[in-house]
């Protein structure tokens, strides 16, 4: 497949669908949480208003170039991740630039935003930001390990690094999904997924009660709005990869929405049941439970 100019509006369309879906889904999940606590909860459109408000604040200050670039890097990571995997399998419109990138690129993009954020938050000079960043980097690095092992396992299994081909190999029935053909890799990857969505038990990076929201402490106005936008795009982009690799992909939007929502609810359910880990506990947890499963997945394949 070759690059064509028409793919740029197509990609923007994908992006806008993802952003709207993400904003609504986050509010919906917050609303479910509120209803469980017998509250009414935020209006379903609250995230849109917060975004407009933050973009509309009149003043913003900067702490330096990296402070400015931090949210930009983060957003680049989110959008880049989304653009190089096929959002809808088999669709010309929503496959975006997946012909140009493979799994390794996706793995790289997952980490890219975190690094940018670390540099940006570091320059803000706030001690809570520095604490949050050091916690975040160590935890994300650890959570990335089982995912990388799972990806190796999958690549060995299907003999390719192209996401599109992996999805193609899973078509034709639920039992063809990686979930059933290579369950160990899926388990390792889903455990790793918990570590990167910033929900309990692995949300010590933000930890509102201990270090007031960690890395973004100094971020405000448009900076914060950019990060909120990425907060919406990045988890979904990541879930798109998971969906493509393990759960058979999606060949139309309704299936896409349902699968993404289910994958997200997995992290939400775990989050409401288990209390927060400290960083050294979470690292130990990944090393003891997730990494061996990942290694096993590679060996078995």
């Amino acid at each position: 497949m070759q690059f064509e100019w028409i793919q740029i509006p197509y990609a923007l369309l994908t992006l806008s669908i993802i952003i709207n879906f993400g904003l609504l889904m986050n509010a919906f999940v917050a609303k479910i949480g509120a209803r469980v606590g017998r509250r009414v909860g935020i209006p379903i459109y609250q995230n849109y208003i917060d975004l407009i408000k933050n973009y509309g604040l009149r003043s913003s200050i900067t702490h330096g170039v990296m402070f400015y670039l931090g949210p930009v890097f983060r957003l680049t990571g989110g959008i880049g991740l989304l653009m190089f995997v096929p959002t809808i399998y088999g669709s010309v419109m929503f496959s975006n630039f997946s012909f140009a990138g493979d799994l390794i690129l996706a793995l790289y993009f997952i980490f890219f935003g975190t690094l940018g954020m670390a540099l940006g938050a570091g320059e803000s000079g706030h001690p809570h930001a520095a604490i949050g960043v050091s916690r975040g980097l160590s935890q994300v690095t650890m959570a990335e390990l089982p995912l990388a092992l799972a990806v190796f396992s999958i690549a060995l299994q299907y003999n390719t690094l192209s996401v599109t081909e992996i999805v193609a190999a899973q078509q034709g029935g639920v039992l063809n999904w990686t979930l059933f053909t290579n369950p160990l890799a899926v388990v390792a990857a889903m455990l790793s997924f918990l570590g990167s969505v910033m929900r309990p038990p692995f949300d010590v990076v933000l930890a509102p009660q201990e270090i007031p929201i960690g890395p973004p402490t100094e971020y405000h106005s448009s900076y914060l709005a950019l990060m909120q936008t990425n907060r919406v795009i990045f988890p979904i982009a990541k879930m798109v990869i998971f969906m493509n690799l393990f759960f058979g992909g999606a060949d139309n939007w309704p299936v896409f929405f349902v699968k993404i929502f289910m994958i997200y609810m997995f992290a939400v359910f775990i989050g409401v049941v288990f209390p927060r880990f400290r960083v050294e506990q979470s690292i130990r947890w990944f090393l003891i439970w997730a990494v061996p499963i990942g290694i096993l997945a590679v060996i078995v394949v």
Binding site: G41, R58, P212, Y219
Partner: protein, 213 residues
């Protein structure tokens, strides 16, 4: 002035000597400026609507009134359904609720937090203490009238006001914001000298720059 805030020469761990002036190095000394509204009225109206529907409160309780803010997060009152939520950092907050009496020592912290908030920002005085001193009217170490030190958009009277009164206050504040009348941040910038003079009159150990964002 405290010793650690004075200008001095420091020897680094690698033997290099360098000069440190905390008040200049760590803070910005530029005074606040009046920020104009958006160029087009429609855009400004949209922004004002968004600001009114997304009020982020700084989680900073200054006095006993702070206890009345906690129930707002609970199922019984649930302020989240009105777009009100609490933020842990002044950078991201829009509303500062001065909850009850304000001692001079706290006023210093309040000023620093207030100045770190971004324009537009709002101040709500909660309880009688912020209006006329309330039951602390003859106390030696609380301020009596909040609007001499910070531009107040709204008062919620009572000692203490119930959480319902706070919710009503938020509703009134929303009307003010939507009509474009809540311009406290610009007022602060316009009458900056007057506010600073008042603040310095009560704060005796003024060991920070005049404007410290």
């Amino acid at each position: 002035m405290k010793e650690e805030l004075e200008k001095r020469i420091i020897k680094g761990p690698d033997g290099l000597e360098f000069e440190v002036e905390p008040l200049r190095d760590y803070y910005c000394e530029a005074p606040p400026t009046v920020m104009p509204a958006a160029y087009s009225k429609i855009v400004e109206d949209l922004f004002n609507w968004a600001r009114s529907e997304s009020i982020w409160i700084l989680g900073f309780g200054t006095g006993c009134g702070a206890i009345e803010m906690r129930p707002l997060m609970t199922p019984r009152f649930d302020a989240y359904r009105f777009g009100v939520q609490w933020r842990p950092t002044p950078r991201q907050s829009n509303l500062f609720v001065i909850s009850g009496y304000l001692s001079v020592k706290t006023l210093k912290r309040v000023i620093r937090s207030y100045e770190q908030m971004q324009n537009p920002k709002y101040v709500v005085g909660l309880g009688s203490c912020t209006i006329n001193g309330g039951m602390y009217w003859d106390s030696y170490n609380t301020i009596k009238r909040l609007d001499q030190y910070l531009p107040v958009d709204l008062y919620i009277a009572g000692c203490m006001p119930r959480p319902e009164a706070l919710l009503q206050g938020f509703a009134d504040l929303k009307k003010l914001i939507r009509s474009g009348k809540a311009e406290g941040a610009n007022e602060y910038a316009e009458k900056f000298e007057w506010y600073k003079a008042n603040q310095k009159k009560v704060i005796n150990d003024w060991d920070m720059p005049d404007y410290n964002w």
